[in-house]
Subunit: 431 residues, 2 copies
């Protein structure tokens, strides 16, 4: 963990290092992934069989049950849940759906003063693939956050790819799939699964958009396949920036900081406060909580290597600029007047206002998407939304009079650009 004070002589150098700290995939991963994708293009099913056996110790045989999990299994997994878990999943699903329904875009269709008809029509993609990691990061909430926006967009075919190491299936993920009504689930993982979804194989029909979290290989495969399919975003380890005065409860903030640290050793938790002593109280509280949680090892590694407590002189005037340079995935404003600071922040994935809004409510039940830009991408990227599963077709309609009004300007520009056929296509109609 790093302690910084904005007045430190080498503050700028140290803070810049934190800003530029790229906790992401390296060239080796990129090279491996290129090889895997090349193989997937050449022999999809065979490569899937080989790699799934080698990496997941799961045999994709002639028995379809080794390739797919069917809807009945999902329903059964859901039936087995404790009633309060069912209710919590349903509350989450309902609230996520409600929030995302407000994201549906409006079509446009109008005639302007020159009687040119102009517009834009939004439609869902035909098919979306959702990746769900196996092992540590197999989160049912993640399936809800990816599947529900696709459903709200109106996507007809929703496909899940998830590895089942040693044949083991995560029942919670199946139960969440049932809640989302997903019927096509493939037992494949890694870069090869992303390749299968993008290119298709003899067995698997390709999709148009791939979303969902994954390890470095999955993230790199999505990055390399961007353009072959649409993807949600290049995702890195998660991050939280807590901005707090000294009136917050240190125990609360300690839990908030650890809630990101426990995700991954590469996660990053940063506290900005205007009181050094308060910073120490949070650090102490964090140590106490850390000793009690079973994600201790991951959280400790993350906090030790990437945690930061940064003391400033004045929160309102200094914190927003620092927050913008970090452009963090999650920003908590644990102050009396969060609005005043929020108004000055330009770059953040999602902002949690006030002392009673722990980031974790956003992970599960608040409604907005928990798939958010990491690694400073909030400078230019947004959280997952209904729009990621839709595309817009613009349209134009002119009659002869409208073409006579605006066409000559088009022909003039085509001519100065040296494109005679463009010009001809207008002029031949105005003869």
């Amino acid at each position: 963990m790093q302690r910084l004070h904005i007045g430190d002589e080498d503050f700028e150098r140290k803070f810049t290092r934190i800003v530029n700290d790229r906790r992401e995939s390296d060239e080796t991963v990129a090279h491996d992934v290129r090889e895997i994708l090349r193989k997937m293009r050449q022999s999809g099913d065979d490569t899937l069989r080989d790699m799934t056996m080698r990496l997941d110790k799961h045999a994709l045989s002639d028995d379809p049950a080794t390739w797919r999990i069917d809807a009945d299994q999902c329903r059964a997994a859901h039936d087995e849940l404790a009633p309060e878990t069912k209710e919590a999943l349903q509350l989450a699903a309902d609230r996520i759906r409600d929030y995302h329904e407000g994201q549906r875009p409006q079509d446009r269709d109008y005639r302007d003063a020159q009687n040119v008809r102009l517009g834009a029509k939004w439609l869902p993609v035909d098919a979306a693939g959702l990746y769900v990691p196996g092992g540590r990061a197999a989160y049912p909430s993640s399936l809800l956050m990816n599947a529900i926006p696709a459903r709200v967009a109106g996507v007809e075919r929703l496909v899940v790819a998830t590895p089942t190491p040693r044949g083991e299936i995560n029942d919670l993920v199946l139960a969440a799939a049932h809640v989302c009504g997903i019927e096509e689930i493939w037992r494949i993982g890694g870069a090869q699964a992303i390749g299968a979804l993008a290119y298709g194989t003899e067995t698997i029909t390709p999709v148009d958009v791939i979303t969902g979290p994954g390890n470095a290989w999955v993230a790199e495969a999505k990055r390399q396949l961007y353009g072959v399919v649409g993807i949600d975003m290049v995702a890195g380890p998660s991050e939280i920036l807590v901005i707090s005065d000294n009136k917050s409860n240190p125990d609360w903030l300690a839990a908030d900081l650890l809630s990101q640290a426990e995700h991954d050793p590469a996660s990053q938790s940063i506290l900005i406060t205007d009181d050094a002593q308060f910073g120490e109280m949070v650090e102490d509280a964090l140590g106490v909580l850390l000793a009690q949680i079973k994600t201790q090892r991951t959280a400790h590694e993350s906090w030790e290597n990437h945690g930061v407590i940064l003391v400033v002189d004045d929160l309102a005037t200094q914190a927003p600029a620092l927050a913008d340079r970090l452009a963090a995935e999650h920003v908590e404003l644990a102050v009396d007047d969060p609005e005043a600071i929020f108004a000055k922040i330009r770059h953040a994935g999602s902002v949690f206002l006030g002392r009673h809004t722990p980031e974790a409510v956003g992970d599960y039940v608040a409604g907005p998407n928990h798939v958010l830009p990491t690694g400073r991408r909030a400078r230019f990227a947004s959280g997952l939304s209904v729009l990621d599963f839709m595309k817009r077709t613009s349209f134009i309609e002119l009659d002869e009079a409208a073409l006579r009004t605006i066409g000559p300007a088009a022909a003039a520009l085509a001519e100065i650009e040296g494109l005679p056929a463009h010009a001809a296509s207008v002029k031949v109609r105005l003869k």
Copy 2:
């Protein structure tokens, strides 16, 4: 040029080959670009100097004028334009601005039934880089189409990168830059220019989003840097699909087909009609026009290698499904009732309705963006818009009562996901 009939025995095989025809960059380009970007990360200015000398024969010296074109030069270039060119540029700029102003997204901010405050705030990115190719594809219209949406989004810093081979500057591009009020223009091109904009160099401050067309190296550099910055889209050669009955004027359609063919030898023009004889008339008209235009060589190569005339039995029932498989950048519906066919088309970049709407009006003056998804990407991607220069921050605010209502479900889900610090961050606040 290929002639196809939907009734041909091997139609499906041939059409599939057309659909899968990837006229795009290969592995060699990808490898070269990785090398260039690696060098740009290590020594930006030196690499720019070396490559600009080698490829553009232009020396980036200690004289800033060799690096930048200033606003006065742009104004002067604009002053030199013929009055009708000035007017055409201004008409285009005004109409593009009007259309894009309708794309500004709405912020959200509301409280739901559980008194949870939820919302989303849209903001422009801080800086956008617009690439403008040198040589054949240096189009002032392209600068308008990239810069105006960024301006409408509210982007403060707009940067243009454009190569000036042998020091030669394209005055039309400068004039368009003046119309858009662009003040920062760098005389660099290729993958190295994209690297400079994304990573920054000693001389050039990095940007957040890079848009604009370019050759295979530029396109591949943008693809590889996606995630480091936002990009508009992976762009391939342009395409037009004309769907027409036999009542259109063959001369009109010939010009429309050639207007894409003249862009690039890799461009593709396809006519779908329900009358084989009409198809031949269009082919003949195309031959006549081809002989007259100075873009003959490019247009001829494109038409010979990639042109298609496809005859179907019934336009209304058969053309939309074929159009969806092609998911073309531009689709012209030259029929009496274009609306009926448009209603059945799901995948297209932009649609031109009726016989008096040549695609070229969309390239220049109609208003919608001419930067559109190519290479079948209309299945999942949209044309360039104001949203490409903005990003959305979601926000959440709970008070104690709201946290008491929805918090326990969040804690329950965190616990089943094995994330105790997430659960603790809720529970510690509800003690």
